[in-house]
Amino acid sequence: MGNKQTTFRDEQFEAYQDCTFFTRKEILRLHGRYRELAPHLVPLDYTNDPDIKLPLTLLINMPELKENPFRDRIVQTFSEDGQGNLSFNDFVDMFSALCESSSRELKTIYAFKIYDFNRDNFICKEDMEKTINKLTKGELTPEEVTLVCDKAIEEADLDGDSKLSFADFENMISKAPDFLSTFHVRI
């Protein structure tokens, strides 16, 4: 119990509970996980909101993310600066969006951002090719990748601009019932 009091203040807990999908216990566990990544950098005492950010290279070595082909993108998407440096708050935010109880809309928004590699607010062919290469270890020939991309975009592109806008993406997600359960990282 002593541990609980020194790590966060009650107001902080309340704020976390109001702003994320986590309970008090989970916040503490997340803090433990965060601290585990860099024990010398992250203090146990978070009552005065220390401004500490962990770099991408540390974060993507978490067991939850280590094998994920999109790990860099996930971390970058949730970082304030887009470079992948996460403060503890960003860290909590990331797992909150990826947790079981977060809503379909929220997950869709973040999934779109993750797949949008060049951040132009469209999933264009280039993004799609990157996705495929990440998913297949780059073992498809460039022609095959192009074919698959074209087919996928053609299928999902409703407005015919040969790239996927958020609306297209959302529409596609709504047809994929598995999305909610697969876009989910257990912590």
Binding site: C19, P69, S174, S181
Partner: protein, 930 residues
């Protein structure tokens, strides 16, 4: 492409409208701190500076134009101000069609949050530096709206709303603190004790709720194991374990209520006869010693237990079982309906490839080997789809006939197998029945003989499904899903025919032969449950361990087996059906079930980890889950419920044992109870309900009619929604077509003037050094802007038939804003545009306004070049284009809202008039100039 999101901020007029809007609002809310209070006069001054040449006429038009939105009402206006925000992320959303505005506020909040984020992430530093103020104002304005929306929500909605904002944590916290501050300031204004109290109460409720959530998480069973399985095998295999866990929980619940309401009172009252010895075999057969324990129906007495309170055993027994079944049914129906809603109704029946790419990656998989394998599988799958694509579906008629014949044969064989198994079991049971006698003291051999039927049943359940899955090798289904469905259907048919036959045998023969037949049925079910458990273990040995050994040692061609989710889940459903059937005959059967499932969980886990590889095919796991729940409901739960109902209503309980001895049927206990109650005046409502609801045909008739009626209405609603979805989809497609058309048009226009761009760029750089006002934009940016305008125009037109030229003209009325020196060139361009408005009647009326705007721009540039007008004309063009856009947006923004439409009509017509005047004026000037 990213930076256009901030486009409208460059327009001073735009900000005028925003600040004024706030001005209007601030007196209404004195406590609301207006961050613009200081800036507002500056803006006003700026505006005066910008339009030094505004004539009386123009001033008038200006005002009328500004005022339009306010007349739409305060609420409308604030919404309008927000919806109009152009964004990079969602070019289709800023101006939403009318029905979107009726969408729940949560949704709009989310959109807005998203915009904020997109601005932060994508905003380019150069732009930020230029219009830092503008952007900041914009954001604050948006934030205020958001906070206001959140304050208006109920506490629960508010928290949910904050949680679902797609912003970073810091921003969410900021919003939250603002909301809280706003609320407290409001509270201090009207200090009412009630509000205070209710707030406190809701706060304490929330605290309680969150602490309960914490406890629930602590009690969460097998969390680490679940994570491990999900991490190695993905969601589809995990769904088996989740299913197992939910059945486990269901059984714990049923055990708790059975034990609490039936067994404990019984134990407190009755003693077990001591003269029976425990022989060990009972653990398997459930006979002998167990017959005298509270395990079975027969040992429960029918008496009313006297004590502090009278406890009527008969009623307790009846109502506990009935309540349990009702609760089970309700929970299954609920989970089935919700899962059906999310997984079936929304999903597309046509299997697509693109969602597999983007949505199928399982983020929960964390095991390196599993990830590698998954990637391989995905690659193979993609290649397959590609080859299918190139091959096409060239099946000859002969081949098709052959496939059809094979399938028909397989169906025939499987159905006859199921029927054969059923009849075999029936004859076997009859044989067994002849052997057994209605005595208490069986010899060990006699007792062991009773295991024959359960053994055969379980053997059939183990072997025949394996045989069925052999069919897969011969049958060639075009679609893998259909194959799985066929397999599931055959297995269910087999299991249900066996259980049906057994139930028939128990109801017809056992019920008439034995003196305490309920206990006999309970024993039979006990044996089935136990033997089934052993066979499940054997099944995982044969199904997984052996095939792993074969696959790795002897026949590498077969490979490491996959975990067969469908077969295993069907086994679970079968086991649960047994438990449901048995709950009346053996109230403590759930104990056995709990132990069984608990061991099974670890057994399957170990077997999975040791023997199996992740499934090769992914996808549709969620739909399979829905099917499993549906199967659990339909043949399994409904079947056992109907059997129980038959027992309650039609069978005579045994005369000498059990709680219902001496009654004609079980249900008549309710009648007896109600006649007892008739004497008590306080319970008259129970009597009334019994007489007028339970026993009246007219009630059921009415209920049926009402349910049919409601079903019909909902069906109609569904049809309507389907139509609406089609229309909406069509609309998206139409918009896309418009966009492509415009793109082409733009490109052809650009080609026709190849040297424009370089000059523009030179001018731009000049202008930048000037540091002149708003229009510092790149050429392409302007185009994008125009696009946006066009897009919105076209959408606006789609919904409401607005005369197109009026908008164009409104856009031109702002031209004289510019300085004197430029006005001549403006006028020139205007004249040209006018001419072109007539010339360029493009086939697509929707697209015409935009094309015209672009034409205008092109012409401007040409004019500017010709006249060698220098830097200012370009900025002018930019202004104009943006003005056009603003105007168009305003026009349609107002149009989109039915309430505001009326007020905007005169404004628009006046704008038209002014535009015509402007044209005249410009022509005059043009004449003067030349």
């Amino acid at each position: 492409m990213t930076h256009y999101s901030n486009g409208a901020f460059y327009n001073p007029a735009y900000h005028d409208s925003e600040t004024l809007e706030l001005d209007r609002r601030s007196p209404r809310k004195p406590h609301h701190s207006n961050p613009y209070a200081q800036e507002e006069p500056a803006w006003q001054a700026g505006r005066a500076n910008v339009f030094p040449t505004v004539t009386g006429q123009w001033g008038h038009s200006d005002d009328s134009a500004w005022r339009v939105p306010w007349e739409g009402g305060q609420e409308e206006e604030s919404r309008w101000g927000r919806e109009r925000l152009p964004t990079g992320h969602l070019p289709t959303h800023p101006q939403s069609p009318p029905w979107q505005q009726a969408a729940p506020t949560n949704m709009t909040m989310r959109w807005r949050g998203m915009r904020r984020m997109s601005m932060f992430v994508n905003g380019e530093p150069t732009h930020l530096s230029i219009t830092e103020d503008a952007i900041r104002n914009e954001l604050e304005q948006e934030e205020q709206n958001l906070v206001k929306d959140l304050v208006a929500c109920s506490t629960k909605d508010r928290i949910q709303g904050i949680k679902e904002l797609p912003m970073s944590y810091e921003e969410k916290k900021h919003i939250r603190s603002q909301v809280l501050a706003f609320k407290s300031s409001k509270k201090s204004r009207h200090l009412s004790c009630f509000a205070d109290c209710s707030d406190n109460v809701s706060l304490s409720f929330r605290r309680c709720g969150s602490s309960m959530a914490s406890t629930r998480q602590t009690l969460e069973l097998w969390q680490g194991t679940m994570k491990e399985i999900g991490g190695r095998f993905g969601t589809s295999v995990l769904s088996y374990f989740l299913f197992l866990k939910s059945l486990f929980m269901l059984n714990i619940f049923s055990f708790l209520i059975n034990f609490g309401f039936i067994t404990i009172p019984m134990l407190a009252y009755n003693q077990i006869p001591q003269n029976v010895t425990f022989r060990g075999l009972e653990l398997l057969t459930g006979a002998g010693y167990f017959n005298y324990t509270v395990m079975y129906y027969g040992s429960y007495g029918s008496d009313i237990i006297k004590g502090l309170l009278d406890y009527n055993m008969q009623l307790a027994y009846f109502f506990t079982i009935a309540a349990y079944m009702v609760l089970c049914g309700a929970s299954i129906i609920y989970s089935m309906a919700s899962s059906f809603k999310t997984n079936y109704v929304l999903s597309d029946p046509v299997a697509g490839g693109s969602w597999q790419l983007l949505c199928s990656w399982d983020f929960s998989v964390t095991n390196e080997k599993a990830v590698r394998q998954r990637k391989n599988n995905l690659r193979v799958q993609l290649k397959e789809t590609l080859s299918e694509k190139t091959q096409g579906e060239g099946l000859t008629t002969a081949e098709r006939m052959k496939h059809f014949g094979v399938q028909l044969g397989a169906w025939f064989i499987s159905t006859s197998l199921a029927v054969g198994c059923g009849s075999a079991i029936y004859f076997l049971s009859q044989y067994e029945q002849r052997q057994t006698t209605d005595t208490d003291n069986w010899s060990l051999l006699q007792e062991a003989e009773t295991l024959l039927v359960p053994f055969v049943v379980s053997l059939i359940n183990l072997v025949v499904p394996l045989f069925y899955s052999l069919f897969n090798k011969f049958e060639l289904y075009s679609n893998q899903r259909r194959q799985i469905y066929a397999l599931i259907f055959r297995n269910v048919l087999l299991k249900m025919s066996i259980l049906g036959i057994l139930c028939y045998y128990w109801m017809k023969e056992v019920a008439t032969k034995f003196s305490c037949w309920e206990s006999m049925v309970g024993q039979a079910l006990y044996r089935l449950v136990i033997v089934d458990f052993f066979f499940l273990m054997l099944g995982s040995f044969f199904g997984e361990f052996l095939s792993n050994v074969i696959g790795t040692r002897w026949l590498p061609r077969l490979g490491v087996p996959e975990f067969d989710v469908a077969r295993n889940v069907l086994d679970l459903i079968y086991a649960q059906t047994l438990a449901w059937i048995g709950i009346y005959f053996s109230p403590l059967l759930p104990v056995i079930q709990i132990i069984k499932f608990f061991i099974l969980f670890y057994l399957k886990k170990v077997s999975l980890m040791q023997n199996c590889q992740p499934p090769r095919r992914v996808g549709r796991a969620a739909q399979m889950r829905t099917i499993f729940i549906a199967l659990l409901f339909f043949p399994s739960f409904v079947g056992s419920l109907s059997m129980m109902a038959y027992t309650f209503w039609s069978l005579t309980p045994s005369k000498h044992c059990g709680p219902f001895q001496g009654l004609n049927n079980t249900f008549s206990i309710v009648g007896l109870w109600v006649t007892d109650l008739e004497g008590i005046s306080t319970a008259s409502w129970v009597v009334w309900i019994y007489q007028n609801v339970i026993r009246s045909e007219i009630f059921y008739f009415l209920v049926t009619i009402i349910i049919l009626f409601i079903t019909f209405i909902f069906w109609q609603v569904t049809q309507g929604r389907k139509l609406l979805i089609l229309l909406l989809r069509q609309q998206i497609i139409n918009e896309g077509k418009d966009k492509t058309f415009l793109l082409e048009k733009l490109q052809t226009l650009q080609k026709s003037q190849p040297n424009n761009k370089s000059k523009t760029q030179i001018k731009q750089s000049k202008r930048r050094s000037d540091g002149s006002s708003s229009g510092v934009r790149s050429n392409s940016n302007a185009m994008v802007q125009t696009f946006l305008a066009g897009q919105q125009d076209s959408r606006g037109n789609y919904f409401c038939d607005v005369p197109v030229p009026s908008d164009i003209s409104t856009s031109y009325q702002r031209i004289p804003i510019a300085s004197d020196r430029q006005s001549s060139s403006n006028a020139l361009a205007l004249a040209r545009q006018r001419a072109e408005v007539q010339d360029y009647r493009t086939p697509s009326t929707l697209a015409s306004p935009l094309v015209q705007v672009m034409q205008a721009r092109q012409d401007y540039e040409r004019q500017a070049d010709a006249m060698d007008d220098g830097s200012s004309s370009m900025s002018n063009i930019m202004m104009q284009v943006m003005e056009a856009r603003m105007r168009a947006e305003e026009g349609y923004g107002v149009q989109g809202r039915p309430v505001a439409t009326e007020s905007s009509v005169p404004a628009r017509s006046s704008a038209l008039i002014q535009a015509m005047l402007a044209r005249q004026q410009s022509q005059n000037e043009y004449d003067d100039g030349y």
